[in-house]
């Protein structure tokens, strides 16, 4: 990679840097919950990706369209069913699954419309979260889960083990997994290990149908 694209990668949110590394150049990508389009913008500039996005906020969509990205205003719970099977090489859902109404259905849709699904989420089994609840007896707030219980969008939080179990229930194959620690570094823990569920602040899974 050129220094310029290194710089562009470094400007991405840390989980998105690892997502970007997994995506092959020239691929068709759908980014669900694409926010202001940072990932799509990087992917189309640096990896010549044919990218599309779905974003719930008008401000986000406008920011995307204004930078020339193809993004629709919509939401993961209701709009994925419109897409045909295998419409994309990769479907990305970053830090959004825990905010959906029906994560199980959303996950099924991801692997239906994409040949691969890349999901990132904050780990509710992370030791600071556990400590927060145990020591204070109050709903945990952390860097990644900053909002208090009454105003958070995160209604379906899970731990890494919970997520791995759901993937098994849905008969999904985990092609890649990255467990990130609080400094945003790859811990190289396996998702099945207890260390991952304790020390991982967030996780990334790349999934396919079996």
């Amino acid at each position: 990679m050129s220094p310029a694209s290194d710089l562009a990668r470094a400007a991405l949110r840390v989980d998105l840097q690892f997502v970007a590394d997994l995506i092959e150049p020239g691929a068709r990508v759908l980014d669900i919950g694409c926010d202001d389009g940072a990932l799509l913008h990087y992917l189309s500039n640096e990896q010549n990706v044919d990218g599309r996005g779905i974003e719930i906020s008008q401000a986000g969509v406008n920011a995307c369209v204004a930078r020339g990205l193809s993004v629709i205003q919509g939401n993961a719970d209701t709009d994925l069913m419109d897409y045909p099977n295998d419409a994309f090489d990769y479907v990305v859902l970053s830090r959004t699954l825990q905010a959906t109404h029906n994560p199980r259905d959303v996950l099924s849709q991801l692997v239906r419309i994409g040949r691969r699904a890349i999901v990132t989420f904050p780990n509710f089994g992370y030791w600071r979260v556990r400590w927060n609840l145990m020591a204070n007896g109050r709903m945990p707030t952390t860097r990644l889960l900053a909002e208090p219980w009454y105003s958070t969008e995160n209604i379906h939080l899970c731990t890494i083990r919970d997520f791995a179990q759901l993937c098994e229930d849905l008969d999904l194959r985990t092609e890649r997994q990255v467990i990130l620690n609080h400094t945003g570094h790859n811990t190289r823990f396996r998702s099945t290990s207890r260390y991952a569920n304790f020390f991982g602040e967030q996780a990334l899974f790349m999934l396919t149908r079996r």
Binding site: R52, N62, V65, A66, G68, L69, I72, Q73
Partner: protein, 387 residues
């Protein structure tokens, strides 16, 4: 031909007109054909050497080709004057804008008030019923005439959006990008109902004479004005009407216990009605409303809207407005759903505004920002030079 003259950045009111049909009659969806027909149009900006920077702007029901020049009858600025010009969203330093009067219209393109060459009399109701598809076919003939193989973009609001969708569906290879605004793939039952009210008002006017009012040297002013008044309400929103007029009285302190225009909103509508009559032909109103009513892209594709956009290469930007109850966001979402089902390249924005359907004609910064962003992105992909 004046179209490639780079100095012609003007906006003369006379406009341009071309008689077509010599290359073959225009076949209409009704099964009849027009042996010859005219298209009146305006252009703004300059066509580039590759003829790749043309944007076709399609007008709504009561619009016309005078999108960005003073209107020859009313003297008012064009209906998209805020949109078209140097440095504006449709930047005439970068794009070549074409705006036509639709087939069936009354501002120069062939319509019911013109003379039927076979009889020497005005067509009136003997003019064939035309469709959105026919309007687009006529525009395609104009592009043939101008030597433009592919539009960079086709766009419009309301009925103009219908034309944009029809263009993308019927001529996918001739459209690089399409922007349907405050529009839909079919006219709803409610919209047909409103149109029917308007048509009945015109036809109930004794001066209409079964459409032969030209022969009687009259025009159904009252009927057409009522049609316009009813329609105009649908272009606004409750919030917009309230903000603009509330229950305020017109030039008086108290209600008069009569049927004069006591309220400002009444006075406003009456004004809208009477000024409209001075610039619009009643029979054209019948024909164009009918064209909108008949529009249903799914029905034309075996009941499947995605089939209307099968494997489309066109880049779409669909835009709706939150307070638009004539073409509500759900209509735009239907289009987006169909395009997603084809995994098409589509952007979709619902702009928050309380200005109703007419928001597409107004100064809506978020709307304009979206449009500029989309056009810039598409223009870069198309390789158009920056101004």
């Amino acid at each position: 031909m004046a179209i490639a003259d780079p100095m012609d950045n003007s906006s003369s009111n006379a406009g341009q007109f071309v008689e077509l049909g010599g290359e073959g009659a225009l076949r209409l969806d009704s099964g009849t054909e027009l042996a010859s027909f005219g298209v009146a149009y305006q252009t703004y900006g300059a066509l580039n050497a590759e003829k790749s920077n043309a944007i076709l702007v399609c007008h709504a029901l009561t619009g016309d080709q005078h999108a960005a020049n003073a209107h020859p009858l009313t003297g008012k600025p064009g209906w998209w004057d805020i949109m078209i010009g140097p440095g504006r969203p449709l930047d005439t330093n970068r794009y070549f804008i074409i705006s036509t009067n639709v087939l069936g219209g009354c501002m120069g393109s062939t319509g019911p008030k013109d003379i039927n060459p076979e009889t020497g009399e005005p067509w009136a109701l003997s003019f064939p019923v035309i469709t959105i598809g026919d309007m687009v076919r006529a525009q395609a003939r104009l592009l043939d005439h101008l030597g433009i193989d592919q539009l960079f973009c086709v766009m419009g609001g309301s009925m103009g959006g219908m034309q944009a969708l029809q263009w993308a569906s019927a001529y996918p290879e001739r459209v690089f990008a399409a922007v349907p605004i405050a529009s839909g793939s079919r006219h709803s039952a409610q919209n047909i109902a409103f149109h029917e009210v308007g048509r009945q008002a015109i036809m109930a006017d004794r001066d209409w004479h079964g459409g032969e009012y030209h022969a009687h040297a009259t025009t159904p002013r009252a009927g057409l004005a009522v049609a316009r008044m009813a329609a105009h309400i649908t272009y606004l929103s409750e919030a917009a009407l309230h903000r603009k007029f509330g229950r305020r009285l017109q030039d008086r302190e108290h209600i008069t216990f009569g049927f004069d225009a006591d309220f400002q909103v009444e006075s406003y509508l009456r004004h809208q009605g009477s000024t409209f009559v001075d610039r619009f032909d009643a029979n054209s109103y019948l024909y164009i409303t009918r064209a909108m009513d008949y529009f249903d892209m799914a029905v034309e594709h075996g009941g499947s809207l995605p089939a209307a956009f099968h494997k489309t290469p066109v880049r779409f930007c669909v835009i709706s407005f939150t307070s638009d109850w004539l073409f509500p966001t759900s209509d735009s979402r239907e289009v987006v759903k169909a395009l997603n089902a084809e995994a098409a390249n589509v952007s979709f924005v619902e702009v928050e505004t309380d200005k109703g359907h007419d928001a597409f004609l107004l100064d809506e910064p978020e709307f304009h920002k979206t449009l500029v962003g989309f056009l810039n992105g598409a223009a870069d992909k198309r390789g158009l030079k920056k101004p």
